[in-house]
């Protein structure tokens, strides 16, 4: 038996796969279904102070080897989300509350609520690429990342994981700022700012025009980001972007991630993708004579 358990700071996981924010994470029953399907933890949809309907459709479209989305942080608001958390936290795995706000004050209020609702950790969405005055519009500035992380850390006792945007010159600066703010780990990456145009319609397809690219196509970008952060900043990293197989996950784990998240992988793989990724990692480790996942974490740096 290969030991697949891992930890991200104080967060203990039965296996390294987590559900990425914004995918099936808005409702309790689907969070539970993903947990039952084998994920090591689940991250909720990013939740704000007030209900938001998000952008009009089209909000999610398929591309070759990728999805393009501009859902626009649709969410029922933190108060209404309490009833989802009450049910979701009865599952077998940690529930990580993802939150977004426009300043320290909003992030802090939301984090306190998430802790009160039973979240095992909070993830700070400092990286959504398609919502005005939110996400990466704040999170692209290392000063904001440090200040918001520090504010949240000072008000909750659960682990805090800022989620970083790849749409900057140097993601290492953001990871460094998160570490200075006291983060327990960072999540990399959110989607890559992108656009698709329909020549026949003569306009961008997404109603918001600009969205975020996810899925297989962005994996090399995510792997590079995780690798660079590991080299420069002594902080645990959760790798995300384009994972749908065990080998995809192993790229991130060898780049230095302690755990991974899967979002778009649910598109083709369904909620069963978590179990199949774990099985493939286990088979790889066995084939290569490893008894524990720990053996390969960061392995790509020793060459």
């Amino acid at each position: 038996m290969v030991d697949l358990s891992t930890s991200v700071g104080k967060l203990q996981l039965r296996n390294p796969t987590m559900l990425a924010s914004g995918v099936l994470g808005e409702t309790a029953e689907l969070l539970l279904r993903v947990a039952d399907s084998g994920a090591g933890a689940v991250v909720t949809k990013s939740i704000g102070l007030e209900p938001r309907e998000g952008h009009p459709n089209p909000t999610v479209i398929e591309m070759e080897h990728a999805l393009l989305n501009a859902v626009g942080l649709a969410n029922p608001g933190i108060e209404a989300f309490k009833e989802e958390m009450e049910v979701a936290t009865k599952g077998a795995v940690p529930v990580i509350g993802s939150i977004f706000g426009k300043n320290v004050d909003e992030f802090t209020k939301l984090a306190v609520k998430m802790e009160e609702f039973g979240a095992t950790a909070v993830e700070l969405n400092l990286s959504c690429p398609h919502a005005e005055g939110l996400g990466h519009e704040i999170g692209a500035d290392p000063k904001n990342v440090e200040e918001i992380t520090k504010g949240v850390k000072g008000s909750v006792s659960i682990p805090v994981f800022p989620k970083l945007t790849p749409n900057v010159k140097d993601i290492v600066e953001l990871a460094d700022a998160a570490a200075k703010g006291g983060a327990d780990g960072v999540v990399a990456i959110n989607t890559v700012r992108a656009m698709a145009i329909s020549p026949e319609a003569g306009m961008p397809i997404l109603a918001n025009k600009i969205g975020g690219l996810s899925g297989t196509a962005i994996r090399p970008i995510g792997v590079r980001c995780v690798y660079e952060i590991w080299e420069e900043v002594p902080i645990p990293v959760i790798g995300v972007g384009g994972i749908s197989t065990g080998m995809d996950a192993l790229e991130y784990l060898m780049a230095g991630a302690s755990a991974v998240q899967i979002g778009s992988g649910v598109w083709i793989g369904g909620p069963e993708v978590f179990a199949s990724v774990c099985k493939e990692i286990e088979e790889f480790l066995e084939r290569n004579g490893h008894s524990s996942l720990n053996d390969v974490l960061g392995a790509a740096h020793s060459c």
Binding site: G25, E26, L30, G54, P58, T59, P76, I205, V266
Partner: protein
């Protein structure tokens, strides 16, 4: 995103029109597509005609469907899909029960099933004028039964009550239904009573249509990817059935019958 010209528009009733366009993709009865109305919205629609020419049948209920109703032949729409699962026909004698626009998603399965099975189709609507596809059902070779709430045509009452009468007389192997959830709930209950399996086609607000965003959550099921067709028993016990939908912000909201 596939872009298609609307080749033909047929007015079916004062609030419903069918739109036909060239397909170029395969689809199975019960599947749906996401229809992009450029600059306005993108909405899910069951395929009411499947083949070289594809068709959708649209009840005008709000912003996007009203806009579509204002379109002319030659105007362009975008199409993603087809998505979701399809009906799984079983047995040799079927009862198909449609409420309102529900017949749109059922018409293709009727036309396939009737080739080698005995098919009765019960269509219900508020009034005679709102009964859709009666002629098309007859042309397919299926046996047509009609019900109107106001008694202006056929059985006077709900189509589920008509279905109850039919079940008492006939020996059906399976029921297929699409329409308001209150109606489908009654159909599932009738199925239990008469020991007939039921497949239901469900609707919820959608964004992606491909099982990723979670907008169409119905308890632990995704209507778009786990459905839209479910075994009646699979949905009957769910707390959301005939009770709740999720609004675009994801909040659990009472379901108001709208078909």
């Amino acid at each position: 995103m596939l872009i298609r010209k609307i080749e033909k528009i047929v007015t079916e009733s004062h609030h419903t029109k069918s739109f036909y366009f060239k397909g170029g993709f395969d689809a199975n009865p019960g599947q749906f597509v996401m229809i992009w109305i450029p600059g306005v919205d993108e909405i899910p629609m069951g395929l009411s005609t499947i083949g070289e020419t594809m068709g959708i049948t649209v009840h005008s209920v709000g912003v996007a469907t009203e806009k579509l109703h204002s379109f002319n032949e030659g105007d362009k729409i975008g199409i993603r899909g087809p998505y979701g699962n399809s009906f799984d026909i079983q047995g040799s004698k079927l009862l198909v029960i449609a409420g309102g626009t529900g017949i749109a998603s059922l018409m293709p399965v009727v036309e396939v099933a009737v080739k080698d099975r005995d098919v009765d189709v019960a269509i219900g609507a508020l009034t005679k004028e709102e009964l859709l596809f009666a002629r098309r059902v007859e042309d397919s070779g299926a046996n047509l039964k009609l019900a109107t709430d106001d008694g202006s045509e056929g059985f006077h009452g709900f189509v589920s009550d008509l279905a109850g009468d039919l079940l008492s007389e006939g020996d059906y192997d399976q029921m297929l239904t699409c329409g308001p959830e209150a109606m489908m709930k009654k159909v599932i209950e009738l199925g239990r009573e008469h020991n007939v399996r039921t497949q239901v086609s469900m609707e919820r607000f959608m964004r992606c249509g491909i099982g990723v965003c979670g907008s169409c959550a119905f308890d632990g099921l995704r209507i778009c990817a786990d459905g839209p067709v479910f075994d009646g028993e699979e949905v009957y016990g769910k707390g959301d059935f005939n009770k709740h939908r999720r609004d675009p912000a994801g909040k659990r909201t009472p379901l108001i019958p709208n078909l």
